[in-house]
Amino acid sequence: MALKSFTALGLILTLLVSCEKKNEINDPDSLVPKTVVEDPGLPSIEANGAKLHAQAFGPQDSTLVICIHGGPGDNYQYLLNTISLANEGYRMVYYDQVGAGLSERKPKSYYTSFGANGINNIFYDELKAVIGHYKTHPDQKVILLTQSWGSILATGYAGKYPAEIDGLILAEPGGFKWDDVITYVKASRSFNLWSELLNDATFFDQFITGKETEHAILDYKALLLSSRNDIVGDFGSIIGTNKQYYPNVRDGAVISAAAYEIADKYKPDFSEGIENFNKKILFLYSEKNKAYPDSWAQKIASPLPNKQIVKINGVGHSGMFDQLNTWNNITQPLLINYLNSIR
């Protein structure tokens, strides 16, 4: 009798569900927006063998400010408040790194095949190509405006090509030496075992799984995973008046995993050569990031030769850029002063 009841209940449920139109989990735009490969209407450039989601604002021949997002695997949308610097006469350039944001996806094996040269071939060569794409004359100055992983990447690049960069704005790089990066990642993700935050990060693994080639599914999962982190003080962004440029956000799960795997294997020191970079560096960190106390900011900034360290109050890891009030009233004036000082 009980068996018959169970079977009947199962059949009823199946019938109810099968009557409704269903979506395809593998569709490229069901859960996450299309990339530049799937949607040619998006602004893009070709750089370093990939189609990158990218755009620029402001006078073409003026000082280039290349904005470099975090992750690896994040996207530039949260940096878009800085577009207002275009009104100050700067050429603001935004690009999603390969495999991230709305840029082209590559298989994991593509990244890992570079071995020890992975960071160089994937990220430094890409940045070099982006700068080359937007640079209109040899004397055009290049400033890197960066956050988190973007700041780690930029420091490595400036150490490798010190003569090519005229200014460096770093915001909360987790660390430059790999051990420091690991320490920061652990501190920023040490969720309470009983917390909703940990539960939100792990429980959905039984609902959605994706193969290494199923980027839309993996990116969606990455987005759910990174949507909120109370430890670093990011509670969601208010993009404000700049939001109309990009309402579509996507993370890159495969590039994130691949970059992490490469770095964990070869343990790069991203501060290598930075002692040769003699221009002024602006180093920002936030008050609300519990994993980034004053002592950590001092430690991480220590290899930087000519720096100004500023703590941004009232916000967390990304808030100095993605919180419009903080951007308008604190970060932007600070950056304008800095940019004026290196003109």
């Binding site: 009980a2 209940l9 199962g10 449920l13 569900v17 409704e20 139109k21 269903k22 979506n23 395809e24 989990i25 569709d27 069901s30 859960l31 996450v32 992750g71 988190s148 992983w149 987790g174 690991i182 990642v185 652990k186 920023s188 993700r189 040490s190 969720f191 075992l193 917390s195 909703e196 935050l197 940990l198 539960n199 939100d200 990060a201 792990t202 429980f203 959905f204 693994d205 039984q206 609902f207 959605i208 799984t209 193969k211 290494e212 987005l223 759910l224 995973l225 990174s226 949507s227 909120r228 969601g236 993009i239 309402p247 579509n248 956000v249 996507r250 799960a253 994130s256 995993a257 992490y260």
Partner: protein, 221 residues
Amino acid sequence: MKPLIITIIALGLLQTVKGQTINWKTIDSSKHIVTAGFEWDYSLSFSAGYGYKLNTKLPIVLSLNFTKASGENLLDDFKTKIGGQIVLLNQPTLKGVITLNGIYRRFENDLVRLQNIGSELKGTFGYYKPKWLVACEVGFDKAILTHFKHSDTYKKDIYQNVKDGWYEPATGGNFSYGLQTGYSFKKSDITLNFGKVITQDFKTTPLIPFYLRLGYNYKFR
């Protein structure tokens, strides 16, 4: 920088487990089994269940199980299972058991609410004595149909054209394999299950690729 390394280190072991572990050697005189568990089942969770033993030649137990994930929100994340276990190999001490469950589960965070209908198939083979048991277990948990309902935050700040509704084909699937052991006394069993979880492509794993369950059964007529 996304991986939750610290979490993995902190948890050490752990993850999904599949309902009730029964000492089949001690169940002959019982009809009802009440169970409780504390576990890592894709998150730190508590479970409670009930089993009813049918009067059949091959031992069969029908079961109902509820698992609630920890966290500040009371009922946003949970899992219910309804199904049964049948002992197909029923030697005096060696036993082979098949478990089949239908699953309804729910997940919610700031961005989305997921409701899933799934199934779980598990095989267990082991050595059962009146006072103890040890067995190996292999299971497959399939998330067959999932309903997505995204929050206004997702639609406003992340992706305005996201499609809500039922999704197919199956949105997920995880294999698990491990060991179960238990100690029986009077009308009670204390059981322990632990093992690993791997996704259905055999290449990737859940964020925490382990499971652990400490369980208690009380059996009565």
